[in-house]
Amino acid sequence: MNDMEIDLKRFQDTFFEEAAEHLETIESGLLRLEETGDELELLNTIFRAAHSIKGAAGSFGFNELGSLTHALENVLDQLRSGRRASDPALTQLLLGASDTLGEVVAATKKGEAAGIPIAGLVHELEASVNSAAAPAAVAAVVATAAAPLAGQVLQITFEPEREFFRQGQDLFLLFDEIAQVGEIVESRCHREALPDLEALDPEASYLGWEIRVRTKRSARDVRDIFLFVEGACRLEIVAEAVAAAAAVAGATKTAAAAPAPERRANADRRVESSSIRVPTEKVDGLINLVGELVISQAMVNQSLAEQSLSAALEEALSAVQRTTRELQEQVMAIRMLPIGTVFQRFPRLVHDLGVKLGKRVRLDIEGADTELDKGVIEQLGDPLTHLIRNSVDHGIEDPEQRRDVGKREEGVVTLRAFHEGGNVIIEVTDDGKGLDRARIRDKAIAQGLMRSDQALNDEDVYGLIFAPGFSTATVVSDVSGRGVGMDVVKRNVESLNGAITVSSTPGNGSRFRIRLPLTLAILDGLSVQLGREVFIVPLLSIRQSVRPAAEDVRNVLGGRGEVFLLRGEQLPLVRLSRLFSIAGAVEDPTKGIVVVTETDGHRLGLLVDDVLGQQQVVVKSIERNYRKIEAVMGATILGDGRVAFIMDVAELQRIASRRKTRDVTAGREVPAEHDVPVPAQEEKS
């Protein structure tokens, strides 16, 4: 008994997960309807999603959900049968219904569904169905007149499995639904499998049916009735003419003769069922274990390196190494998801914002299948929401304004994702009025973010919008413009080891560009020696490594700062051993190596003792058990089992830029940023 309760709970959990997906399907489908017109395939998809929720809600006894989805389904059914056409008002009603549906699902999960008033909405949906039914009825009559023989006879062969009833299925519901799709011409019950009374298990299912039904619906529609029992029965639905032809051909298996679209539908379903749902913690646990395996494997290799091994053992070791690497890659790939999973919420956002602001805005999405670490994707929702709100609210003009300047009334916001090198780039572009350089400047001066005599280039001025508390919106709306947002966006992106930049052309719109690493969990690093310690520098930010000549390192301001000359370009030189207070490191730069890094267009020279090699490292959190360490973004575990810190080059850059503050280790003043001549950017060599 108890087991059954647990099982039911598990099924319900699955239901709620699936319901969330169906809701997304419904919403994104409804939004796409506006573009595609009433495309049948899309309507069918939406209908099936609603139907799935309804069916499962029915079997769990979630009545509120059931009646709401039923009402929704009726409207959708009118649409897909062509009895009515969608219009903006109807779309809005349906979107509203899908929202409420979401609320009811959430409330049902908490067991509070009764608290949400749905009667009004159900009524509204029903009224909508009835108002459309009147003219539709006329259309139906016309259609019948034009094609008096409309409709076909479908032959349904339905044999439930033995376990059918134990899964809580109800035959009568199915039969009722079949009766509703058309006229039942004939039905036969197969009792061959029925055992003797002594052997009969009263809870098992032994019967099968053959039903011929005359209907205007397609075989596929009729198949939908069986959506929830499909896994628990043998089902064949064949149009009569085809069946007859097959019979003539002597085929005994009618399934083989099923029309092609039917078979494709089956194939689709099989693809779906070949994926499994796994909690994220399990995947993360797996990733951790594999990470440890990689380390242990490296340790084994290291400790065997000095010994002479038999050829067989040597071979086995390298096989282990290869498999371990592959295993790691595969496991990491589990965490990769298409970025579309976060993009799909934005069409709705743009739609609603447009309605609210009285603007006409379209959202174009490109590269939704670009894959990115799940952890990164999860944290992208908020910053992207901010950027898109910002584009619609501040970027896109009112339709009248757009007309006046000769643009199309409908503004376009483009959300685009693609790979570039080891990074993923996400761009939010709008074709609106662009950033107002003068206003940003005035505001920045008023807020003390820059001096009025400071000459900044466009990029730097636009960059000011990411400063905390900065907002140029003249009216504080509830959409955006409270002066929080862009700085939060920047912080969010940086916490993902990414960077954000903005470019803009007055009158033509602006583009926000986010650069992100593929994954947070591993990175390619260069291991460097400092005294007896090993540090990792992320390879992405390294431009080159050079052994400096004596004349390449110059003191400025009486030794308070140092610059490194790279082919005439002056880079601030950071002695990492001093920054990290490491004893026994190389003091004479000509005996060490300068690693040249670049972040956001700023270059830096890092003095290290030696460069040990390049390796892929698993990033471990330090904050989890300790706290943030300055200029360190995480730690990793080396082949010998020791912990090594991974440098945060962006933060090193910031530290180097605000050297006005005391150099902790040297205990003396170092020059402020504007005292060190920051060289003009040079094309990467």
Binding site: I295, S581, R624
Partner: protein, 161 residues
């Protein structure tokens, strides 16, 4: 580690708690045993740049990066070279895992809650909040540590973003 007091954990009532005791110099300290995750020999740690002296660094505990604190230095005692008796007591502080370097692990004791006396007032200059209380075991005096206070207050705080 023999103890007549330990009549089996199952029978220990709520009136008594078990403590792991360890030595720092000539003093004996105790930690609530439920907070102790494991005891490890001292192995190489990676020093953390620009951290207080008592933060010895971080070590790899089966794939997790765990900070190691030297309790002698934390309590302002003289440093002592690590030897083969030096151990790291790995404890849970909230959701965090930290390692404490102690001179040697001594015993596991059942201590009656009623017999724990509050830490005496040692004057304003000495912070006794790190002590849960003091227990007497025959002629031994055991300072019971409030472990959350020891490592939870000053240097394991998260930096407000």
């Amino acid at each position: 580690m023999s103890h007549q007091h330990l009549d089996g954990r199952g029978e220990s009532t709520e009136a008594t708690s078990q403590y792991l005791t360890f030595a720092l110099g000539h003093e004996e300290y105790g930690i609530d045993i439920l907070r102790v995750q494991e005891i490890k020999g001292f192995s190489a740690v990676t020093p953390i740049p620009n951290s207080p002296a008592y933060v010895k660094g971080v070590m790899n505990l089966r794939g997790t990066v765990v900070p190691i604190f030297d309790l002698r230095l934390k309590f302002g005692m003289d440093p002592q070279a690590y030897d083969r008796f030096t151990v790291i007591v790995v404890v849970n502080v909230g959701a965090r895992i930290v390692g404490l370097v102690v001179d040697a692990v001594l015993d596991v004791l059942d201590i009656e809650n009623a017999s724990i006396e509050p830490a005496p007032d040692l004057g304003a200059s000495i912070d006794t909040s790190v002590l849960q209380g003091i227990a007497r075991n025959q002629d031994r005096l055991i300072s019971l540590l409030a472990i959350d206070q020891v490592v939870g207050t000053d240097h394991i705080t998260t930096i407000a973003a």
